[in-house]
């Protein structure tokens, strides 16, 4: 993102559960403090090969970067590819957090960098990886200082001989798609940072052609906790389907965004208690889904209750005086500009969808053009699944959920009326210079 985004705000951590050992500290920890706080990392002889993988499988860890894919299955396919192709694998902790509304990854890296480094070390040992990379946004501000510098300091505190894994820090451009796994691999290999066409997945052939495990930094940190406290500790949090503690970035009322430590199964309402009357809640992220207020009031944080995945953990309450269509148009315009612009359907479709949403958000224009909805739906079908990454699919999910959730608003706009008076955008969508 550009330098002027709202990451300059102070974030507060709120443990929602009875204190377990996994809760983030209230201030940044150096390595010695980290070991005192979380306990020492189990030595390699205490964790024989295969043991960590089976703990991860038992714990049921799912990725926290958005897709919620089971970590165990990715571990198995990366190590399988490494064996089949006789190439030592690489691992990448994805701390790009390209989504401007999300803060949880930078928050985690700021307060407990050694948790992520521990996780990389453990996964590196388990996979016998020859490369381990921590990727973060170049010059990422975190409101309280320079995150990249802090991570360098943390890396300098590590004892590489004891770790058995040397971790590289990579700075990647602040773009929404920079953190997409294939785009990230391209950047790390000195390429253009765009997902390439490939018959092989990143797991089969990623960094430098090596089978590569790309995991969100929160997922990597969870590995470090499971190695210490065990899979049963992990399963004490959350639900059977979505186990483990999770970090959420929460927008509620006039508050600054907060990072909240919670878990699936917790009630949603208390997280957004200070929001006042609301119209809807955005769940998951900019590739996530709008949930109508009546549902949000009683829902628990589970995919089943919400009818939408928790994704990358964004929860944003839209106040009742805001227009959900205007908010969605604002986000989708941003997503269209963040398209890498290399795939025809994404390049052509997303800007058209954004423009039509902007018209739909304006009661004067919506009243004149009754065909808007139909066109948006048509274009959604046309971009979905037709790109080199899932950016179009995620964007379409957001748009479709808006068309469902804001049905009443759409009807009002078509009649030339708007129910939400305040049209200022709630969520950040930093403008970026157009490069073509």
């Amino acid at each position: 993102m550009t330098a002027t985004d709202n990451r300059t705000e102070t974030l507060v951590i709120e443990p929602q559960q009875a204190q377990g050992n996994g809760v983030l500290p209230s201030r940044p920890l150096n390595h010695a403090e980290h070991r005192a706080y979380y306990g020492v990392l189990p030595a390699p002889d205490r964790l024989p090969l295969g043991e960590l993988a089976s703990m991860i499988g038992h714990a049921g860890v799912r990725g926290r970067g958005g897709a919620g894919f089971p970590l165990y299955r990715k571990l198995v396919s990366v190590s399988g590819a490494a064996r089949a192709r006789r190439i030592a694998p690489a691992i990448v902790a994805n701390g790009c957090e390209g989504e401007p509304a999300s803060h949880k990854d930078k928050h985690l890296l700021w307060l407990a960098p050694h948790l992520v480094l521990d996780g990389l070390v453990l996964l590196g040992r388990e996979l016998r990886a020859t490369r381990a990379v921590l990727a973060v946004e170049a010059g990422a501000p975190n409101g309280r200082g320079d995150l990249v510098r802090r991570l360098r300091e943390a890396l300098n505190e590590r004892d590489v001989r004891q770790d058995g894994v040397r971790i590289e820090l990579a700075e990647v451009p602040g773009r929404f798609i920079a953190g997409e796994s294939a785009a990230l691999v391209s950047t790390l290999d000195g390429g253009p940072g765009l997902p390439p066409y490939s018959e092989l997945s990143v797991r089969e052939s990623g960094v430098g052609g090596a089978p590569t495990l790309v995991q969100n930094v929160e997922t990597v940190a969870q590995v470090a906790l499971i190695a210490r406290y065990g899979p049963d500790w992990f399963r004490d949090y959350g639900t059977a389907a979505e186990p483990g503690p999770q970090l959420f970035t929460v927008y509620s009322g006039r508050q600054r965004p907060r990072v909240v430590h919670s878990a699936a199964g917790a009630a949603l309402a208390p997280l957004i208690a200070d929001a006042g009357p609301i119209d809807a809640v955005l769940v998951g992220g900019y590739h996530g889904s709008w949930i109508p207020a009546p549902l949000a009031r009683h829902a628990r944080l589970t995919e089943a209750d919400l009818g939408a995945p928790l994704g990358a953990g964004l929860i944003a309450a839209l106040p009742a005086d805001r227009c959900g269509l205007a908010e969605t148009a604002h986000i989708v315009r941003y997503l269209a500009l963040e398209s890498a612009g290399q795939c025809g359907p994404c390049l052509n479709g997303l800007p058209r969808i954004a423009a039509a949403l902007e018209q739909l958000a304006d009661p004067h224009q919506a009243a004149r053009d009754r065909g808007l909805l139909e066109r948006i739906e048509r274009w959604c079908g046309m971009v979905e699944g037709r790109g080199l990454c899932h950016h179009p699919d995620g964007s379409v999910r957001l748009v479709r959920s808006a068309l469902m959730t804001f049905r009443t608003e759409i009807a009002a706009h078509h009649a030339g009326q708007c129910t939400g008076g305040d049209r200022r955008p709630l969520l950040p969508a930093p403008a970026r210079e157009l490069v073509h």
Binding site: S198, P345, H390
Partner: protein
């Protein structure tokens, strides 16, 4: 790859220029969207295999690909797999 192995058509979206030639050569398998980019439908019938190879060879951008059907599980440009929204 064996010649009679099941194949699927896929598109390198970064390379495809929307020429639409492929839709002319394979009208029963490829139609064009509002902007001229190919929409590939269904698995390739054995009868179409030869014309498909021709379309692949003739694509001016070398964007049309034939690949082993089972490779489709590795997502990318496959709508059904994409809907499961797996991004890893």
């Amino acid at each position: 790859m064996r010649d009679n192995a099941p194949r699927d058509l896929s598109v390198d979206w970064a390379a495809c220029q929307g020429h639409g030639l492929c839709a002319e050569l394979l009208p029963d398998h490829i139609t064009l969207d509002d902007w001229g980019y190919p929409i590939v439908s269904g698995p390739l019938s054995p009868a179409a295999a030869k014309r498909a190879r021709r379309a692949v060879a003739d694509c001016p951008a070398l964007a049309l690909k034939l690949r082993a059907a089972e490779q489709q599980v590795t997502i990318r440009s496959n709508p059904a797999a994409a809907r499961s929204a797996h991004r890893g």
